[in-house]
Symmetry: C2
Subunit: 251 residues, 2 copies
């Protein structure tokens, strides 16, 4: 019965009767309209909130959530421009133009979490350097990025300084003799931890992508693990693939 209420509202959001940014009926309205108790109405609304369709803005009411995603291209670390015109068009079309970026960098020496240590081939107790970055756009946090490096290869290098590295941390690694030639990306999709939700100012119903990139040198040593947390409602993750000849694939 509470589902009827949320279904009705969901329908109106889907078909545009309630466009992005519009206000939903108030709890009192729905109580009167359907003749039910307040708990039931709140249950219906909380379902929509947990689906990420609706945001409560106390005490103004409930509003349809707006989203303006930004393109996240893991490959852009090493290739600034997309392969071809139609892909470039996609990127620019979805880009967040005219918004003010800001970032905050912090460097620390830590004993990395087990999953990070494993990817870096570190024994328990071995240390790593981590560059933590929070990126903002228009005053809103957009994503957090923690890059881990084995301490023994970046000690005393530029990477330990909490400043922006214009030519890129990867280039610094290469200068130190650890040029990366391969990388493995893993993407996990889940709800944020309360800590992540707080740091990224995420409401309920906002899942995140958890992106782990491990970079390898030519001799197969992992020298960098970059962990990025991307709020789902603010990002599109994009990859391009290109191949030459014998397509040995299956469906």
């Amino acid at each position: 019965m509470y589902q009827q209420i949320s279904d009705g509202l969901r329908q109106k959001i889907a078909d545009g009767t309630l466009p992005a940014g519009a206000q939903l009926p108030t709890e009192a309205d729905l109580i009167a309209q359907f003749g039910v108790g307040r708990g039931t109405v709140r249950q219906a609304l909380s379902a929509l909130v947990n689906e990420g369709l609706v945001v409560p803005m106390r005490p103004r009411g409930y509003f349809v959530k707006e989203r303006q995603p930004m393109v996240f291209r893991p490959q852009a670390e090493f290739r600034k421009r997309p392969y071809s015109a139609e892909m470039d068009a996609f990127v620019t079309e979805h880009s967040a133009e005219g918004r003010k970026p800001r970032q905050l960098i912090e460097v620390a020496i830590v004993e990395p979490a087990p999953d990070i240590a494993k990817r870096l081939h570190l024994e328990a107790g071995e240390l790593a350097a981590v560059r933590r970055r929070i990126r903002w756009l228009d005053g809103e946090p957009f994503n957090v990025n923690d890059s881990y490096f084995p301490l023994d290869i970046v000690r005393d290098s530029e990477i330990m300084r909490p400043e922006d590295i214009t030519r890129g941390a990867n280039e610094v690694l290469a200068e130190l003799g650890y040029r990366q030639v391969r990388a493995l990306d893993e993407l996990y999709v889940r709800m944020p931890t309360p800590d992540e939700a707080h740091r990224l100012e995420l409401g309920p119903g906002s899942p995140v992508a958890y992106h782990v990139c491990t970079g390898f040198t030519a001799d197969g040593r992992p020298v960098r693990v970059a962990v990025t947390v991307l709020p789902g409602d603010r990002h599109v993750i994009s990859y391009e693939r290109q191949w030459e000849q014998p397509q040995d694939g299956a469906e």
Copy 2:
């Protein structure tokens, strides 16, 4: 105050006091333990459910969710084996071995949704063929995959038959003269629609990845749009990247 309850339980889940599969205290237990009303306890538990940490199994109680993710490799369509040993290790390690796969294929001719039509460069009203697939593992639905093709190039081809194509639909396209040489992947992260949640048997707190892959021929024509819905708690999405020389990247 309800947050104290959910924080305490979340802590016990995180530190292993409550391992995967264990039963949480019942609502009645928590009411007695904290001396609060049932609504408060249910609010605390529903927070955990919406984070995807906990599953209610009526009428047995609440249990810590278990997850066994399967590796999804978009690149595997065209390259069966990973580049290198350490990546191969990762894939096999996370593979769902010894589980029974099953799939159901269905073919239809439709007027595609606007976002699909746009990616296929179809005008409004133009038709496309769609191969819809649902994949199961151990009797549980794992993901759904809908592949769209411009109708004029696949009409009367093998692609229109609702059977498994051993050598792959991409190979059939190539035989028809539309060999793909590039692809663009887009990944969106969001909560499932009620329909998706039903088809994939998703509980609340299970976000999905929405993967759209557009394949292009050498002359830049899009000939295939594959849409895959991947439940976040059952998948890891994995990409490999390799590059040769001048790393022209920035941080």
